[in-house]
């Protein structure tokens, strides 16, 4: 590359034909027209949504608030909320794609309405988004919000790094979104196996979109992992031993450590593929010494631990929910902790089961097959612990509990099919069919997504100060549960009947009825998403009725419930000291739940910082420049990124002080509210009487 290439082509590869809308108009093929119409519709949705958001922000003069209170915030709670918002936006797109794919499946006998390339783009973006831009931000958001509160900390260990991680993830998500408008996304699936994704077979820019969005997301996740692990190791309240930590914090710790070790292989492998594509390296090409099998090996060195990175925080959420909504101490706390640690460790020993059929010897397959089955043991321990937690508890069938119960039933089914697939002999039969698709959706939807949604419902009142509407929550939960069952149970059968995954059309008429059932299920899932949106709308509309300012609407057990809802910026006026598990329950039972400290002190918290948004902006433009080979943009944004980093090093005044008087005022306002609020019994949980103060109700624990 010379200077002349940089200046002769200021827009790199970008041209009029990069816009699918224009490409559609200039074509006279009707198939291209239909697919182009769908693509353009999606692109228009993206553009219109952005315009509506901009218009609303201007209409309500919210730009200042957005910038100073949110985008530049280093408060872990706000960053957590922004992560969840990102996750929900991306969830919407990925669900829409899923419905479109199932619609294609229902009419796919001998054709259907989608072209194979379009279908391939759909499953590639669906997978990429669901893993990297829905599940990861969702769990990172929940961890970000809840963990510092649960361990009695004021913030995470590295608040600005936290903001940068968020923005890197958001930049990756933005890259996937803009691929709808400019150019096209990869057709290589969420794992983008070479040699198909090499330049020889994929000369376009789709794979580059995939590479750079994943690189940004994986960098963000690595930094998040470091941040969370250090926070939990170093910032726990005095007296909180590791064994006093709530289970959600334990799972967050294991997930964070796994992120630190599992994300780098992904970053390396996508960068190696980029070297292949941009600079004619031969890491994974067919010829010249390349070896594509090492891509699979490295990808799944990341990919398998990733699955457990996703599920462990969900296990943490379920543990909190089973305990809280049964009104009982968590059964087998230590066994749950050790099961979590075992799963985290074992998850690094089983990556080969994602490519049993690659051609290695039967001995290796057997070793990894057995290792995979072993994971069933700690997971089984957890399931029993949760059931014993419920045993003779005072169970409330609230929305989080509905998700959790559905999780137990469905996850066990998914676990059993997982053990089936762990057997290489069976895997050879069904590995490339929709049986596999059904299995992993069985783990990530009832496992991860239900957990995240349960956590969202559970902690929402803490974050915003009012409860979510219960009725719409239930409607949504049941639609999710039955919609999921309708969409994926048929796929198990279809898989056994031989329907290959990732195929746009099929020739067997016997597939049609079950495909139609799956489509109906997918529609129900879409309805569930709608119900979720309506729930949010209704809840905001009637928020005054559902206020829980005192902060403990569910008779919670851990420290996050021991502060107001929403909590002040510094979380706790005085850092609590801990001498037991379920710290807040203990405090409530001893009647010291709502206390005034002897003295208030000035509290130092980090100032806002524009580092995050600047990094988000530059890394997005950098990645966009790389995709379209706009080299001046790459160099410019690269320099700005490094310059910002260096300038930050010279900034000395990074803290702001909240004076003791303000802390005192805020705290006393809350204590007054707590004293005035009537402690309510659990039967009144969903009434307007629930102001967030719980009455002590003892449950007889079987011995």
């Amino acid at each position: 590359m010379s200077w002349s290439t940089i200046f002769n082509h200021p827009l790199g590869l970008l041209g009029a034909d990069s816009f699918p809308f224009l490409a559609m108009l200039s074509s006279d093929d009707s198939d291209i027209f239909i697919n182009g119409l769908l693509g353009s519709f999606a692109a228009a949705l993206v553009i219109i949504s952005v315009m509506v958001v901009v218009a609303l922000l201007t209409r309500y003069r919210a730009w200042r608030t957005l910038w100073f209170d949110w985008l530049t915030s280093t408060d872990h709670k706000k960053i957590g909320i922004m992560y969840v918002v990102l996750a929900l936006v991306m969830l919407t797109r990925a669900i829409a794609e899923a419905v479109l794919m199932r619609a294609q499946g229902a009419v796919g006998l001998g054709g259907g309405f989608l072209s194979s390339d379009h279908f391939a783009q759909l499953f590639s973006t669906h997978g990429t988004i669901m893993i990297f831009f829905m599940a990861m931000p969702f769990l990172t958001g929940l961890i970000n919000y809840v963990v510092p509160l649960q361990i009695g900390a004021r913030d995470v260990a590295f608040p600005i790094l936290n903001s940068i991680s968020l923005w890197l993830t958001a930049a990756g998500a933005a890259l996937v979104m803009i691929s709808l408008v400019v150019g096209a996304f990869s057709t290589g699936g969420w794992f983008g196996y070479p040699p198909y994704t090499e330049t020889l077979y994929n000369p376009g820019i789709g794979v580059d979109y995939w590479i750079w969005s994943l690189t940004l997301a994986s960098l963000g996740s690595t930094l998040t992992g470091i941040n969370i692990a250090v926070t939990i190791y170093k910032k726990r309240a005095p007296g909180m031993k590791l064994y006093y930590m709530p289970l959600f914090t334990w799972t967050a710790l294991c997930t964070a450590i796994m992120m630190i070790f599992a994300m780098p292989p992904l970053t390396v492998v996508t960068l190696q593929l980029a070297l292949d594509r941009y600079l004619d390296f031969h890491f994974f090409t067919n010829g010249l010494g390349g070896n594509q099998m090492n891509f699979l090996n490295m990808f799944w060195l990341f990919g398998h631990p990733e699955v457990y990175i996703l599920i462990l925080p969900a296990f943490g959420v379920y543990s909190e929910i089973f305990s809280t909504f049964s009104g009982k101490v968590l059964f087998g706390y230590k066994s749950l902790v050790w099961a979590t640690i075992s799963i985290a460790f074992l998850s690094f020993l089983v990556w080969l089961h994602h490519f049993f059929t690659m051609g290695q010897s039967g001995h290796i397959n057997a070793v990894f097959g057995i290792a995979s089955m072993l994971i069933g043991i700690p997971t089984g321990v957890k399931i029993y612990d949760w059931m014993w937690t419920m045993l003779r508890g005072r169970i409330r069938f609230s929305v989080p509990m509905i998700y959790s119960l559905a999780f137990i039933f469905l996850f066990v089914i998914g676990g059993i099919t997982g053990i089936m697939l762990a057997n290489p002999i069976l895997d050879y039969q069904v590995h490339n069919t929709v049986f596999l698709v059904a299995h992993f959706h069985n783990m990530v939807v009832p496992g991860v997504l239900f957990g995240m949604l349960a956590g969202y419902t559970f902690w929402f009142p803490k974050a915003f100060g009012f409860r979510l509407d219960e009725r719409w929550g239930r409607i949504s939960a049941y639609c999710w549960i039955f919609g999921w069952m309708g969409a994926f149970f048929p796929l198990y059968i279809l898989g056994l009947m031989g329907l290959p995954r990732r195929s746009v059309a099929y020739e067997q008429a016997s597939y049609v009825p079950l495909e139609i059932v799956a489509f109906v299920g997918a529609l129900l899932v879409a309805a569930a998403l709608m119900a979720l949106v309506i729930q949010l709308w209704v809840s905001i509309k009637y928020r005054e009725k559902n206020r829980v300012f005192v902060g403990d609407p569910w008779n919670g057990r851990s420290l996050e419930w021991a502060t107001s809802a929403p909590p002040p910026e510094y979380n706790f006026p005085v850092v609590p000291s801990i001498n037991d598990r379920d710290a807040f329950t203990a405090a409530k039972e001893f009647g010291v739940g709502y206390q005034e400290p002897d003295a208030y002190v000035n509290i130092e918290i980090p100032q806002n910082s524009a580092m995050g948004p600047v990094f988000g902006g530059t890394s997005f433009l950098l990645a966009f420049g790389l995709v379209w080979q706009i080299w001046w943009l790459v160099i410019l944004t690269g320099l700005i990124t490094i310059g910002t980093l260096v300038m930050r090093g010279f900034q000395r005044d990074t803290l702001k002080i909240i004076p003791a008087e303000a802390v005192c005022r805020t705290h006393q306002h809350w204590i007054q509210a707590a004293r005035l609020a009537l402690p309510i019994k659990r039967s009144q949980e969903h009434t307007a009487a629930n102001k967030g103060r719980a009455a002590i109700e003892t449950v007889e624990v079987p011995t």
Partner: protein, 116 residues
């Protein structure tokens, strides 16, 4: 409640005292890391050794580099701390699993490939 300004000044003084030592430590770390990176590149560029000794040398230099990072950037020294030890052992075992597993799988695949 102490005056916040007083606390900050004393903290700053304490920092100043350590600043130079910290700076030198980071410079040492940076210099060593840079050297340990440049040497392997130079060895490859000028073909200073036969293939197998070269690979072994690069691997050894990489391991030394890890120790440098631990010592100068992650501040792990010989003061015994159980938490640090556990984390180092855990990291080492995971890396061994990844490297050994990869070699095992890839070597087996290579063995089973039809020779060209």
């Amino acid at each position: 409640m102490s005056e916040p300004i007083v606390t900050r000044t004393s903290a700053t003084n304490a920092l100043r005292a350590n600043e130079r030592r910290d700076f030198m430590s980071y410079m040492w770390g940076f210099g060593l890391a840079l050297g340990l990176t440049l040497v392997p590149f130079a060895l490859v560029q000028w073909q200073a050794m036969a293939r197998d000794p070269l690979l072994i040398t690069i691997a050894v230099l990489a391991l030394v580099q890890t120790v440098v990072h631990f010592r100068y950037f992650l501040h792990l020294d010989r003061k015994r701390k159980r938490e640090d030890l556990l984390l180092v052992l855990f990291s080492t075992s995971l890396l061994i699993i990844m490297v050994a597993g990869t070699i095992w799988i890839m070597a087996n695949l290579a063995e089973r490939m039809t020779p060209i």
